[in-house]
């Protein structure tokens, strides 16, 4: 093992880099870490990292996120072909949009990226992008707006890029490479359909989650066990709630546990639910990083407060009301109605 630990010679490094570039040429759609490992089985991971980092910084390689992990690709291997017949301005804009697409990976330290690659497996098969806003393109390119609009139309018609409406603002369009998929910041995730926030869907889920927790709390109260057991059995983990909602089948889209926790959070802000985090053994259902979130329904500590049981508490013209004025307690219709009720 000693020889491997020897400091990497510059010559060796160049050799490795060449091999990687060669591989990329053979596989123009990009290669994964796994491919490099198979081809160069004796290569130390650290050395691999050094080489890749160098290639990335020299601009020879592109780093992409994909469903199976990270993808290295020869820079411009694809696009240069497509960009034939484009002028420099068009190339510049395309470059800006492309950079925006993988801005996550290209600037992060490589070792960190390796970690990300393991986590990012859940990202789905397509490459996701947050896209770039046309105003930002203008900033970066320093081209006049009319020019940019023309170029963007051009690129769109060549199916090199596409425009996607963002949920962040209804009039805001973001641009991304044609083969990329808009990520959650653009589509809004499960709560949006066609850029519209599904408010009713959220409320239905909010109510159902609460009903589930409430039933559980009621059952706990009725079982007449010791107070400790009563309290503990009123808790449900986010996983349990998630399962209940999935089995209910009220959602057309698939909801993740995170989605359900987002809903449960709204219940916390409604003042109807409390959450505690407990330590859980690794591998317990519903635990994340050795922690489990537990939720339970709770009762409010006060009834509607006194002033809200009078008409003045709710009155919209409160500040304009005074004895002797146009609106006054004596002639107040809200009062009359309230007294008659």
């Amino acid at each position: 093992m000693a020889d491997i630990k020897v400091k990497l010679e510059t010559a060796d490094l160049a050799e490795i880099e060449n091999r990687i570039l060669e591989l990329c040429q053979q596989l123009p759609h990009g290669i994964t870490d796994q491919v490099i490992q198979n081809e160069l089985p004796h290569l130390e991971p650290q050395h691999r990292a050094v080489a890749i980092n160098r290639l990335l910084s020299m601009g020879q390689l592109d780093l992409l996120r994909s469903g199976t992990g990270l993808l290295y690709r020869l820079k411009d291997a694809q696009s240069s072909g497509k960009m034939k017949g484009s002028d420099n301005q068009e190339k510049l804009v395309y470059q800006i949009i492309e950079d925006a697409g993988n801005k996550v990976a290209s600037r992060v330290d490589f070792t960190l990226v390796m970690l990300v690659s393991e986590i990012s497996c859940w990202l789905g098969s397509s490459v996701l992008s947050a896209g770039i806003w046309s105003r930002d393109i203008r900033y970066k390119s320093n081209l006049p707006l009319t020019e940019i609009n023309k170029i963007l139309k051009n690129l769109e018609s060549k199916k090199l890029i596409k425009a996607v409406k963002s949920v962040a603002a209804s009039k805001k369009k973001v641009y991304m490479l044609y083969n990329l998929q808009p990520d959650r910041s653009v589509t809004g995730g499960a709560w949006y359909s066609d850029q519209d926030f599904e408010s009713e869907f959220v409320e239905v889920l909010n109510q159902q989650c609460f009903k589930f927790l409430q039933t559980k709390a009621d059952a706990a109260r009725d079982n007449k066990q010791s107070p400790m057991i009563q309290r503990n059995s009123s808790f449900a983990s986010s996983h349990e709630v998630w399962k209940f909602i999935c089995e209910l089948g009220i959602s057309k889209v698939e909801l993740s546990m995170d989605d359900i926790e987002t809903i449960l959070n709204t219940l916390i802000y409604d003042g109807k639910v409390e959450m505690t985090i407990i330590a859980a053994k690794e591998g317990t259902v519903g635990s994340v990083d050795g922690q489990m979130k537990l939720y339970r329904a709770v009762n409010p500590i006060i009834h509607p407060t006194g002033i809200m049981r009078t008409p003045c508490g709710l009155c919209p013209v409160f500040d304009d009301c005074y004895e002797g004025g146009e609106i006054s307690p004596s002639n107040c219709a809200y009062m009359s109605e309230w007294l008659e009720f």
């Binding site: 409604d270 500590i301 004596s330 107040c332």
Partner: protein
């Protein structure tokens, strides 16, 4: 002091003490300390009337006086004490629940009279109780009333008024311009030794002949004079209601009911026990009670709650672990030491009150946003949308509504010195203290509105009310002279059916408004208590 407070004070003074006292009282409230002559001048009221009004106000502890630097006496009104008039029914009701009818009447008499000596109070109450008893000659014993009085003093619901210093023996010093009143801590809750023997007297019924009546009156007067001549042993020792002590009790009740609402009956009973144990050991404005060990609590639990020590410990640790944080753990000795976080509890109750206001006025989604900001302290609009899961447009509407009602605040944090809106953070936050203050003002105005409406309702029906009173009086006197049933009926029918209906409606409305005034006062109480705990150093 705000306009709303002055308005409410003035209405209260007018209702309880009449126009002149109101004029004088409201004037001093508005202007601060004033000497007698100036008050008379400014209000255009004759001097002797002002004097009388001031006497009434001083008697009821609403005005105090003090020697100014320039050598004359100045009078100052205390708006907080005036506002407590609103709470009188609550004090009386509490005395009834704690000490029965006797306690109720003692507190009522003291509140009606401002200050009283124990002997007069006891006599008056015994008389009143005797009157309500069956006419079989039974009467209320003074001794019994005294002992309730003593219990009220022992539990600090009543205390001794400050008394003027005894002039030093022999010295013929001229009486000071303004007597200095002093309370000695030691005497504040000591009852003078009084042996009150006797029973309450029934007022003579009115069926005596006129002649008889007159002579009766005369003998009464003579007796009265004789009475007042023999000085009572407790002459000069006056008592008044200790509102602070009642407030402490109200606060405890609020804490207990919050626990009962959120947790359960037994938990609230445990907290009640802890609060009762702390009554004497903890000062009324302490942030938390003295630590109590689980063993002590166990011993003090009321019988009838058959729970074992083990179960009590479970309850205690659930209480201490609850996010409400009303109960805190302060140590492990004696099976665990526990305190009740009084200030924390008041703050929580105040914020629950604000939440309830938002909920009722603007709906539950708005309340969600309000609680969210409360929890996260500072949020941008986008974050509010995301966390609360409310569509952007709705969230914006709600935030502006909350903002315009001063329930949330908006802070601008510019990223660049030019304060360009596009490069500025806009952070929403909730300030419970200032929102509570504003809500409190709204409460004052609401009570004033309710009183105005009540006065209006009675004024509208004044003629009818007078008529019905007249008729009732006639019927009463006819009954006394043994009139026939048919005659009575005839008189009764002088009030027509629609009139009767109208009277019923009026009665219902007045009761309803009365009840609401008390309910609003509950909100006022929570807010005032919270504000005073969080502003005192």
């Amino acid at each position: 002091m705000t306009q709303a407070e002055i308005k409410l004070c003035s209405l209260l003074l007018q209702e309880h003490f009449g126009e002149i006292v109101d004029k004088v009282g409201a004037h001093i409230l508005q202007t601060g300390s004033q000497p007698l002559r100036l008050i008379s001048n400014d209000t255009g009221t004759p001097l002797d009337q002002v004097k009388k009004a001031l006497c009434v106000l001083i008697q009821h502890n609403l005005v105090s006086y003090q020697l100014s630097k320039r050598g004359f006496v100045e009078y100052e009104a205390h708006h907080d004490r005036v506002l407590r008039i609103l709470r009188y029914p609550h004090y009386i009701y509490t005395a009834k629940t704690l000490y029965g009818d006797t306690g109720e009447l003692i507190v009522e008499e003291l509140l009606l009279n401002g200050k009283m000596t124990m002997s007069t109070a006891v006599k008056k109450v015994a008389d009143r109780l005797t009157e309500t008893m069956e006419a079989d000659g039974k009467a209320m014993d003074y001794g019994e009333v005294s002992s309730t009085f003593v219990r009220l003093v022992d539990t600090h619901f009543i205390y001794r008024c400050p008394a003027p210093l005894e002039p030093p023996e022999g010295a013929a010093a001229p009486a000071p311009v303004a007597p200095l009143l002093l309370t000695s801590e030691k005497d504040m809750y000591t009852v003078p030794k009084l042996s009150m023997i006797g029973k309450g007297k029934r007022r003579r019924s009115s069926d005596d002949d006129d002649d008889d009546d007159a002579s009766e009156q005369q003998t009464k007067r003579q007796k009265k004079e004789a009475d007042s001549k023999e000085t009572l042993p407790d002459d000069g020792i006056y008592w008044q209601v200790n509102t602070e002590r009642f407030h402490q009790h109200f606060r405890d009740q609020a804490v207990i009911s919050a626990i009962a609402n959120k947790m359960d009956q037994i938990s609230s009973e445990i907290v009640r026990t802890m609060l009762r144990m702390s009554e004497v050991t903890t000062s009324s404005n302490a942030a938390h009670t003295q630590p109590l060990s689980s063993n002590e609590i166990f011993r003090s639990l009321p019988t009838g709650y058959n729970i074992s020590k083990q179960v009590l410990d479970q309850y205690l640790s659930l209480l201490a672990d609850d996010p409400l944080e009303f109960v805190g753990r302060s140590g492990d000795s004696g099976g665990g030491m526990f305190v009740i976080n009084l200030h924390k509890a008041l703050a929580t109750l105040a914020s629950a009150t604000l939440e309830s206001v938002v909920q009722e006025r603007f709906g539950s989604r708005c309340a969600r946003i309000f609680r969210l900001i409360l929890r996260k302290r500072h949020l941008e609009q986008k974050q509010v949308e995301d966390f609360a899961m409310v569509p952007a447009k709705e969230a914006k509407d709600m935030l502006y509504k909350l903002l315009s009602e001063n329930l949330v605040t908006l802070q601008e944090i510019p990223k660049t010195p030019d304060h360009a809106p596009s490069r500025t953070f806009y952070l929403y936050a909730v300030n419970i203290l200032s929102s509570s203050r504003l809500l409190l003002q709204r409460c004052y105005k609401t009570v004033a509105n309710l009183i105005e409406r009540r006065l209006f309702e009675t004024k509208e029906n004044k003629r009818l009310l007078e008529k019905s009173q007249r008729i009732e009086a006639i019927i009463a006197s006819m009954q006394a002279t043994g009139a026939e049933e048919a005659q009575l009926q005839e008189i009764e029918e002088m009030i027509t059916a629609p009139e009767r209906q109208q009277l019923e409606a009026l009665k219902r409305n007045v009761n309803r408004i009365d009840a609401s005034e008390n309910q609003v006062d509950e909100t006022i109480f929570i807010l005032e208590s919270y504000i005073s705990t969080s502003t005192k150093p």
